[in-house]
Amino acid sequence: MSKAGSGAAAGQPLLKIQDLHKRFGLLEVLQGVDLDVARGEKVSIIGPSGSGKTTLLRCINYLEKPSAGHIYIDGTLIGEKKVGDRYVHLTDRELARERQEIGFVFQRFNLFPHLTALGNVTVAPIRVLGLSREVAELRGREMLQKVGLGHKADEYPERLSGGQQQRVAIARVLAMQPKLMLFDEATSALDPELIGEVLRVMRQLADEGATMVIVTHEIQFAGDVSDRVIFMDQGRIVEQGPPRDVLGRPSEARTREFLKHIQDR
């Protein structure tokens, strides 16, 4: 059904999610999600709003604390550790260390407005990894170049278009050299004519072998770029598989309904 584990790196998956639950008060947004993502795999998650896909993504780097279940990256528990046979939450410092490995691209970019594009890209390498300013700026310029914004290094975010801001946000994540990149509806806040430039950068990263989990409404992009598409609804994974199956001939009625609804839009 899935290609997980069949990639170049055999053995354990890079990302492993076990029986993840998340409740907000009485509302159970995630109702037991299991998911393995292999190294280098690109997984797209689609589904109606409120299906829990963004929450799932936010749980992976512990921006949301799961109510139950466990997440592993490279075999390491995320957000908690095992003491005896009990699971204990990590300290702020330990959690921060784990998050360095997980890049997160937000729907609303969340660039730091008081820093230039280069400042945005270098602040974490300097403050978190402890790189010297020179090394960080070298790496930062390289990353900005990679997303096609080498010439905008000294601009502040408010002088950049939405598409450019999102590309800087991607460069900011790349500068931390994460093992895994999460994209939370990275193009949903963009004007239609700016979506293409961000998708191009994402496609380039995919081609270079990055491991990516992408929550998106861009069905066609999901189909083109992913090894696997996951359809979520009401806090559960309903269906998953190669894009041509899930998007082309879905086996679940709910998937067909969702895809039809999207196409009618």
């Binding site: 921060a96 969340n110 730091f112 974490a124 990894l129 994540v173």
Partner: protein, 227 residues
Amino acid sequence: MLDLPEIYTENIHRWLPELLYYSLTTLKIAFFSFLLAVVFGVLIALCRISHKRVIRTLAVCSIEVARGLPIVVVLYIVYFVPPQLFPGLDWSWFDDFTGAVLGLGIHGGAILAEVFRSGIEALHKGQREAALSLGMTPAKAMTHIILPQATRIVLPPVGNYAIGLLKDTSLCTLIGVNEIMNGAKSIAFSDYQPMAVFVLVAAIYFVMSYPLSLLVRAMERRMRVAH
């Protein structure tokens, strides 16, 4: 009957040096109590947004108490109460100047805490999330991402507070500090020239506070460029 120009030409050579000397004390009180208020303000604001309920409650209480009291009452309590509470200690170092700085600083800390808190909370939560997702600890996110932005936001209200504080130093007269208002009072009544002296004092206050208000405006402008 009241020939102000003549009064000034006759007396200004005596009044002005004395008033300028006292205004130095005014400036010193304002400066040191401002620094103290900023330090207290940041600390109380951070307590105010703490995840620990006890710390948060303590912060809220201190803010509400300080806001609910007239500055004069705070000054009286800070200056007169500690020596009475601990009569065994050596209080010789605790002069009216120290009491004034401490009193205004504590009161200002509570006022600024609310300003700082609103500045921090004005930032979208995405800023903090972005910092955390890049591997910053909450403390680093606060230092490198949140506070630099909050500073820009709170600059105008903090500047206005500073201007107000400069003028509020006149209340220190009441615990006996020899600042400009106290000096003016004694000159005015010993020379029987209240009008001339107080007009002069008003002018001196204005000369002190107007550059401050220009400075605040200039800083606002410069910060806005880099926003």
